[in-house]
């Protein structure tokens, strides 16, 4: 789950990581007046609180030199629809704006902690060239990026933090300030089970280092021991995705019109790919899980059908632990309860698949059966086009 910048900064503040003077988080333009009264000295920085990088270029970060400018920016920013290179063609509506006092920047650094899958441990990634996207920096100046594997138990020890500071060219008078921030952030990453903690830029001011940004992604698998995060609503997920999660169903809404219900994440992805290969377009990723039973099948149908784009449903079950006859009974029970308005294509394979197919065939219910995934995908595409 991603946290908004101001949420991340709240955590930083509680750990005494130096931050710009906090003005407030506003969701109405008029609210800026009270902030300007309190934070008298400008300039002020207004930052759109959306879960995507690249906000600056998209008009989501503004420096106001006068109160009038600040008011104008607040008015323009709240409610604005933003598209950045990280939103993949979608737009995000700006609901909240963070207002802070500007700081005097002497130099911008990049600092992040992430999981390095290759070595199987967390790493610190740092650069003396902050403020640019790390991907851009990696492509253009890979030699400017320093990567230090971390011990997942010890974290970043003070001597290693100092060594990193020297390597980054931090001026001698600010080594302690850097080490303090770096060790605190690494400890936070480990203590709170994060999968990404990025501060870009981490700036050097005359008074020491200040975190200008905070990008945090938490590890959902660890939410059970972080109740402060688990209570938070995952604003990135759609209502349907949140509903699915409640029932242990893994669902991601997509742009197409063939709804999919599959057991297993890999097979669910493979099913989407097969639909695409057959000329169709999947409406969703949906993994009903290993313990698919009638109740889950029913939930899954409901979630898929909430999407008005769905023109056909494809059920692809490879029965391992799950028995196909049970799935077939589940499908029939669901069809009895719900009036399905779209064609249903079912492919059952694996444990008791023949029995399952027999149950479906005998029921006389109008559905399309398929004996291979390819056949199922082709029939789904045909049904979507009204050809079956």
């Amino acid at each position: 789950m991603k946290l908004l910048e101001y949420e991340g900064k709240e955590i930083f503040r509680s750990l005494k990581v130096p931050l710009p003077e906090f003005g407030g988080v506003i969701d109405k333009p008029a609210q800026i007046n009270s902030i300007l009264k309190r934070l008298k000295k400008g300039p002020w920085v207004l930052k759109a609180q959306v879960l995507a990088g690249g906000r600056g270029k998209a008009g989501g970060v503004k420096l106001a030199k006068t109160p009038a400018e600040a008011r104008a920016f607040a008015k323009a920013m709240i409610g604005m629809k933003m598209a950045t290179h990280q939103t993949h063609g979608q737009t995000l509506k700006v609901e909240q704006v963070l207002v802070e006092q500007g700081v005097k920047i002497e130099k911008e650094f990049y600092f992040s902690v992430a999981i390095d899958r290759k070595i199987g441990s967390p790493v610190v990634i740092a650069s003396s060239q902050g403020g640019v996207e790390i991907e851009t920096l990696a492509a253009e100046h890979p030699e400017q990026i320093i990567k230090k594997p971390l011990d997942p138990v010890f974290g970043l020890l003070p001597f290693a933090a100092r060594a990193l500071a020297f390597e980054l060219g931090v001026p001698a008078g600010h080594i302690a300030s850097f080490s303090q921030v770096a060790t605190t952030l690494v400890k936070l990453f480990i203590d709170k089970d994060m999968s990404l903690l990025e501060v870009n830029p981490l700036v050097l001011t005359p008074k020491g280092f200040v975190a200008l940004d905070a990008k945090i992604v938490t590890d959902d698998n660890a939410l059970f021991r972080h109740t402060d995060f688990s209570k938070r609503v995952d604003i990135e997920a759609s209502p349907a995705e949140r509903e699915a999660k409640k029932h242990d169903i893994s669902y991601v809404g997509l742009d197409g019109n063939i709804g999919c219900m599959v057991n297993g994440a890999g097979l669910a992805m493979g099913t989407m790919d097969t639909i695409a290969l057959a000329g169709g377009s999947p409406a969703n990723f949906l993994d009903v899980g290993g313990a698919a039973n009638q109740e889950r099948v029913e939930r899954a149908f409901k979630i898929i059908l909430k999407d008005p784009k769905v023109k056909t449903i494809l059920v692809n079950i490879f029965g391992g632990i799950v028995r196909c006859d049970m799935i077939a009974e589940g499908i029939l029970a669901v069809l009895k309860k719900m009036k399905l308005q779209v064609p249903l294509v079912v492919r059952l394979e694996g444990t008791n698949s023949e029995k399952g197919r027999e149950i479906l065939d005998r029921s006389g219910t109008r559905l399309i059966t398929a004996s291979s995934l390819w056949e199922a995908a082709q029939k789904s595409v045909a049904a979507t086009g009204g050809k079956i």
Partner: protein, 295 residues
């Protein structure tokens, strides 16, 4: 021959008396695997499925000479179970549990390296390992497998069953089928398992099932090019998945330009692997391009 498991493997089950542990241990016993006991703290001295239950892995190893542990312990305690198995001298740890925090796995991996260098970890979040007709240590349906010359390694569960089913239907049996799991930090990588298959005399060709996210497939491509001679067939799931969205598995996400379907396919193709684009054609593609020496 086979890799990792054979008929002599002696398995204990951690989380033996829980519902998942009981059910799957029972299925493994039915398949013919030597489940020699189990561990549930506090239930030591009792029996379950006609097998002894122990309080600790150390005790179980002492009394049963087990060399494999199959773990069904719930996620919050699973990494601890992995470390316990390693410390007790288990040489193959198979962790089925899904939903383990990533940093728990980072710590467990580090622990094994330092305190249990003998241990190889498969998983977590995986279907397990099976050597057809000899030993099943996992949750896969045993009957779809058939003994033969194909080694199979995969990041996914049901997708693996799909591939195995297609191979068996074409008469292509398997030497060993290994699910390495869909988590960001797996105990064993594709490279680790490919290396074992390359050195296994029974394995004549390898099928690898990857997915988007991470760089394990790219690493496998480099390893294949440099160190392997056996034919390699690959399928990578997630071509149609949009970037930035996590597809079920914690590891299956395209972030930035890393871990895309295209980069994986490109790497494996140029390394000389046969790329299978259509999931439904795994069996037929292998059958068309590979003739086993020992049928």
């Amino acid at each position: 021959m086979s890799i990792l498991l054979n008929k002599d493997s002696r398995i204990i089950v951690q989380g033996f008396t829980g519902s998942a542990g009981s059910f799957h241990a029972g299925k493994c016993i039915e398949y013919g695997s030597q489940i020699v006991g189990g561990v549930t703290p506090g239930r030591g001295g009792t029996t379950h499925l006609d097998r002894p239950v122990f309080n600790t892995v150390e005790e179980a190893v002492k009394k049963t000479a087990a060399n494999v542990s199959l773990i069904f312990v719930p996620a919050p305690a699973a990494a601890d179970s992995v470390m316990e198995a390693g410390k007790a001298g288990i040489s193959l740890i198979i962790c089925i549990t899904e939903g383990i925090p990533v940093l728990d796995m980072a710590k467990a991996k580090q622990f094994l390296k330092t305190h249990a260098p003998q241990a190889r970890l498969i998983g977590p979040n995986c279907p397990g390992v099976i050597t057809p007709d000899e030993c099943k240590a996992g949750i896969m349906p045993g009957y779809i497998h058939k003994k033969g010359p194909i080694g199979l390694v995969s990041r996914s569960g049901t997708l693996t069953y799909e591939a195995v089913h297609q191979l068996s239907q074409k008469g292509l049996g398997q030497s060993t089928v290994v699910g390495i799991g869909g988590d960001p930090i797996p105990g064993s990588s594709f490279v680790d398992i490919l290396d074992l298959f390359e050195r296994d005399p029974q394995t004549e060709a390898i099928v690898m099932i990857g997915e988007i996210g991470g760089s394990a497939e790219e690493d496998a491509a480099a390893f294949y090019k440099a160190r392997m001679k056996k034919p390699l067939f690959i399928f990578i799931a997630g071509k149609s998945a949009p970037p930035g969205r996590r597809m079920g598995h914690a590891g299956a996400i395209v972030e930035g330009s890393a871990g895309t379907h295209a980069s994986k396919i490109e790497a494996l193709k140029s390394a000389g692997a046969t790329v299978i684009e259509n999931l439904s054609e795994i069996g037929s593609t292998v059958a068309r391009n590979f003739k086993p020496v020992v049928a």
